[in-house]
Each structure stands twice: as C-alpha cells, then as structure tokens.
Symmetry: C2
Subunit: 180 residues, 2 copies
C-alpha cells in the first residue's frame, strides 16, 4: 500500500513538485494584482506528486495534489491545468480534504463548466477536456487524480491560450466569469 | 461531482449490488462452517456499486465497495475476487474507511501476497493479477476501485480454481494460509 499525507502532499516515495506564484505567470487574469502579490511574496500555490507504478497499455498512474488557500486579486489559487497528450484519456479526481471546484473546458467547443470537488465525491474528467483545479475554501484542498498510464500531460496548449473563463470570489462566493 | 456514502455504499445513482453468504458458496475454505453460518442467517457480506461514465478507449470506470465485518469459521468476510477480462488492465484501490487486506495472486505463477488497505492509502493491482478484498476489522471496510473502462470483470476463472491461499483470523491477527 502506498500511503499519502493529505497535509504535506507526500505520497509514497514521490517527492511533491512545488508550484509557486512565479511558476504561474500568465494563469491569472489580473496581471497587476499578480505582479504585486509576487513582489510581496512568491508564495507556494500548490504541490503535486505523481506515482507511476508501470507504463503498460492497461496501467494507471495517479497523483496527489494540494492547493493552498489564497487569492490573486479576486481570483482563487489554481493549478496550471492541462490536457492529456493522448487526448482521449479521461481522469478521475477524488476529493480528500478541503473543498474547491474543477474548471472543465471542452477542447473543441470551449464550452466550460464548474464542478464541485469535495471529500466523498468523485469528478469525472472526460477525454478532450482541459481541466484546472481551484481552491475556493480557506484550508488546503487535497485530491487524488487517477489516469491511464499513457495519458501524458500537455501544459503547452493551456499556457498558450489559457482557459476561456476564470473563477473569482464575488462577495465570498465563487463565480465563473468570461476572461476579457 | 458524484457523491458517495461510505456507510451505505451508495455512489451517485448507482444501486449497490448485494452479495449475501449464499452468493459466496465455494469461496470459503471451511465448507461445514459455511453451511452452518448460512443455515443460521444468510448475512449480507458486501455491496458493490459501479459507475460507468463512458466506454471509450481512454475512459475509466469506478466502483465503491463495502465489506461488512464477519467470519466464516476462522476466515474473514471477503469478496468473490476477480481478474480483468482484458488481462493487462490494472486497478487502483483507495481505502476510504475501516481497514482490511487485499489478496493478490499472479495469474500465471500463482504467487500471492497480502497488502493492507486503509484510509489515506492506495493499492496498485497490476494486470494479470487476481484480487480479492478481505475485511479484517470489526467495522465496515469501504474502498474505491478505479480501472480502465475496457477492463471487464472475469469471475469465472476464480470460481473455478479459487485463490491459492486464504486469510484467516489466528489469535486475533490475519494470517495467510495455503488452502488444502
């Protein structure tokens, strides 16, 4: 059994990769707020640790993510988001602690939707769907992701055009807003 | 998000399938103890509910299992166990509540091993590996299983030759014993 720690983000022997504000340049809508936040403190935004037991056709990989609570302007702390290199690959997210949202965007139609991510809940991310996780709470959001071993991660497509919408805090509640 | 209930075994709209003692004829080693237990009460041994969001090449299915605590003779309550029809398909088990063990048996060499299954832990079941879950605690054992959509379940091979070993309670502790 591979043990994981919902607080530290460690899973088995995997060293969690750390993503700080500086790594997320271009992700947030309010670039002024981003530069001010970064000048103040290059905060840790999230960690992700992946376990890759085998790489055969029927194998699975999995990862543990922890997003810290925080805002850049009115936009919640978030992951870079990705598509799978093998576009047909789905991913299953399982809420472990804290609560947040997943932003799903169809690669082709660019239709998007928000889905809650909470403990005792599972989010199905179909193939061909860009996905980003957002912490809308004031405690760390921890989740497991499970995906086919051959899925692969494509961050480039997102880095280029970003998601069509952003998730902002409006009067204390998450709100989906079209990016200008 | 598809919510699940670790107590009732419900997940989303899926109706949990119920497996009672009478459904598990042939699984337990001590057939006398089995018949006596069954005559006394055809107890509910476990439930399993599967969610199948899509069936494409890159898709995933998942299920929630709840095994109730109990013994037949000195053998812990268990699932029938299965191989995947697509033998190369792996499965990921995630402990949700309670604790128990997974019995893994290589289809070819028939080597077997016991792996703990507990909350905040993940068990990787490689392809070509028969797997059965056993509740060694005195509360329900709840877990999620995630597998490729095209895995399929083959119960027939297990029904025919069973697992090579059994997990018995010896002085209050689980013990792996060769079946005679």
């Amino acid at each position: 059994m591979t043990r994981f720690d919902p607080i530290s983000g460690a899973i088995g022997e995997a060293q969690p990769a750390k993503r700080h504000l500086a790594d997320l340049r271009g992700c947030f809508r309010d670039t002024g707020a981003f530069e001010r936040a970064l000048a103040h403190d290059n905060r840790l935004v999230y960690t992700v640790a992946a376990v890759e037991p085998a790489a055969g056709e029927g194998d699975l990989h999995y990862g543990l993510g922890v997003i810290y609570p925080g805002l850049v302007g009115d936009e919640y702390f978030l992951t870079k988001g990705h598509l799978h290199t093998w576009r047909a690959a789905a991913e299953l997210y399982i809420g472990i602690a804290g609560e947040g949202l997943m932003l799903l965007e169809d690669e082709v139609t660019r239709e998007n939707r928000l889905v809650p991510l909470q403990p005792n809940g599972v989010v199905y991310v179909p193939g061909h769907t860009a996905h980003r996780t957002v912490n809308t709470s004031d405690v760390p959001l921890t989740y497991l992701g499970v995906y086919p071993a051959r899925a692969g991660h494509d961050y480039g497509a997102i880095a280029e055009r970003n998601f069509r919408s952003v998730v902002i805090n409006r009067n204390g509640k998450p709100h989906l807003l079209e990016r200008n």
